[in-house]
Amino acid sequence: MFTGQWSPPGVCCDTYMSSGLCFFIRLNTHERMGTMGKVVVKPEVCIGCHLCEVWCAVAHSKSKNIIKAFLYEDTKPLPRITVEENLPLTFAWQCRHCQEPNCVTACISGALTKNPVSGHVEHDSLKCVGCYSCVLICPYGCILIDEQKREIIKCDLCAGLETKYCVSHCPNEALIYVEN
């Protein structure tokens, strides 16, 4: 029998399960909860400079140093964010950390999970086999492919870093982080 701590509906303290797509949802409103947040886009102030892509790649490099990352690291640093561009329209775009993510339902290896505490959609590259089912199913086109490693990469909201690099380096505040 389940003996973990039970939480009343609507309160996100569902920490007992750390895999798959199991988190307490607010049944009436389907709102996001707790500390879940996401990077929201303001297309009208995006100037298409692609600095978010550059700094995202740096954030996910070994050195976290822009010069070292692009010139000296063995594997080319890749961004997890894409600037969609059809001039004059541009906007930057990354994982929406959906409440009920399609990618998690499609993942055959259990590499993609919804963290029940943070709400982040997390990717375990050690488990990923590069089947690309998530690429097929993500409605936002936010699961990107690392061709060299034959696996996927996606926004992790700069886990473990002090700032969200795309947000903090956007010169025109076209990307903002919103806590729900």
């Binding site: 297309p43 894409t82 259990g110």
Partner: protein
């Protein structure tokens, strides 16, 4: 007699989808799970990756070892359900024990199809379906030189690639005139065939097994056209049929698979079904049919969970869809497959780059809604296309842009784009 609020028969994607769905709603209800196989929940879709050496055995497991314990699920492992008593709401196990249920989920999966043929019972004949297949193939690999794969579909070709990588001579037998015939069109089949041939895989189309020559083991095969080929490892990859045995002879309606409505309910109250054993709603064709694919199984289990718990949800996103890769060629298809012969009734737009193994094809219905698509070579951001399909968007005003491999939300009309992304962007900030 034990009794559970929710009882699940089966132990794969559908079962896990149901458990995670139920535990999203209710922590207190009791959940029991009857699993025929002794192994912890694993992903059969990973069998090719394991056998190719890409992952170790620990990565075969779909969820952590403590999954059931943490989810408060009572696991009845290594137990076979043999009969249903739908009146008394009981499941009988081999050995006679009975388990009661409030709501029942049949997630019994599929069984690989073995054609009626002498010799398929030998110890060097496997499918690519179960953990026992995996262990059996692994054991035989060191002494195998010539693999024969019966079936040139998705599983057959994945098996061909894996065994080629492991250094075996590989021969694929396909009854149709091309590989992947039910899934993709002629152009796509051609690209995949040339890719496999270049890698040294031998393809026999319009052909199949005539006779198997065996002692204790399969030794060679005479094909339908008379060719004799050596064989010390035979893989049967024709497909799976729904595992409906438990429902047969009961009031549960079966139409190829266990028939369910969009709430994943069978024709009998309090009994649900999902995954490879079920016939589910295909939102593209409007038909109810087996769609034995991983995402459909998980999502079906999740939708079933909500309905079992009294929250109405519908499965409206299921259809035929595959992400595949053969050697270095990525391939994605979704929705209906239209071949050159039956293309006249559809509006088709496509682009092929000869020699570059890049191909994009879209099938539009009379309302300009995408009913199916194939991407070969470049598959990035394919989900945007699936989303257009699911939302039944008329794409005619930007259909040429679909052929651009960099297609994205910027290529759609403003109103449509911001409608699809309305929760994710802030407009009107100037």
């Amino acid at each position: 007699m034990k009794k559970f609020d929710y009882l699940i028969i089966g132990n794969s994607a559908g079962a896990v989808g149901c458990i995670e769905g139920l535990r999203s709603i209710s922590k207190q209800s009791s959940i029991g799970l009857i699993a025929e196989e002794e192994h912890h929940v694993y992903s059969r879709a990973l069998i090719p990756y394991y056998l190719s050496g890409a992952i170790g055995r620990d990565k075969m497991y779909y969820r952590p070892a403590d999954f059931y314990q943490n989810a408060g699920v009572t696991l009845l492992g290594g137990q076979k359900a043999t009969a249903l008593d739908l009146e008394r709401k009981e499941v009988e196990l081999a050995g006679g024990a009975k388990i009661g249920y409030g709501k029942l989920l049949l997630a019994t999966g599929g069984k690989p199809i073995y054609p009626p043929m002498d010799g398929l019972d030998k110890k060097n004949v496997f499918s690519f379906h179960s953990f026992d297949d995996l262990l059996g193939i692994e054991k035989r690999l060191p002494e195998s030189k010539n693999a024969v794969i019966l079936g040139g579909g998705v599983i057959g070709l994945m098996a061909a690639e894996v065994l080629k990588k492991r250094g075996l001579a590989v021969q694929v037998l396909e009854l149709a005139d091309r590989v992947l015939a039910p899934v993709v069109d002629e152009t796509t089949s051609g690209i995949i065939e040339s890719t496999l041939r270049e890698a040294g895989v031998k393809l026999f189309t319009n052909n199949t097994i005539g006779q198997i020559h065996s002692g204790d083991l399969v030794e060679s095969i005479t094909l339908k056209d008379g060719t004799v080929i050596p064989c010390d490892l035979l893989i049967v990859g024709i497909g799976v049929r729904p595992g409906t045995e438990l429902a047969e002879g009961t009031a549960i309606k079966i139409d190829r698979g266990i028939l369910v409505n969009r709430q994943m309910q069978t024709s009998v109250p309090d009994v649900y079904s999902c995954g490879d054993c079920a016939s589910i709603y295909n939102f593209i064709t409007g038909q109810t049919q087996p769609l034995p694919l991983w995402p459909n199984a998980y999502l079906g289990g999740r939708i079933a969970a909500f309905n079992m718990a009294g929250i109405k949800r519908q499965l409206v996103a299921g259809t035929s869809m595959n992400a595949m890769h053969f050697l270095n060629v990525n391939l994605i298809n979704a929705g209906i497959n239209v071949t050159d012969q039956d293309s006249s009734q559809w509006h088709i737009i496509s682009k092929v780059e000869p020699g570059h193994q890049v191909y994009r094809k879209f099938i539009l219905d009379e309302h300009g809604v995408i009913s199916g698509f194939v991407l070969v070579g470049q598959i990035k951001r394919a989900g945007i296309l699936l989303n257009l399909m699911r939302k039944k968007v008329d794409v005619r005003s930007f259909q040429e842009q679909l052929l651009d491999e960099n297609f994205g939300y910027v290529n759609m009309p403003d109103e449509l784009r911001w409608q699809l992304l309305k929760d994710e962007v802030i407009l009107g900030v100037m």
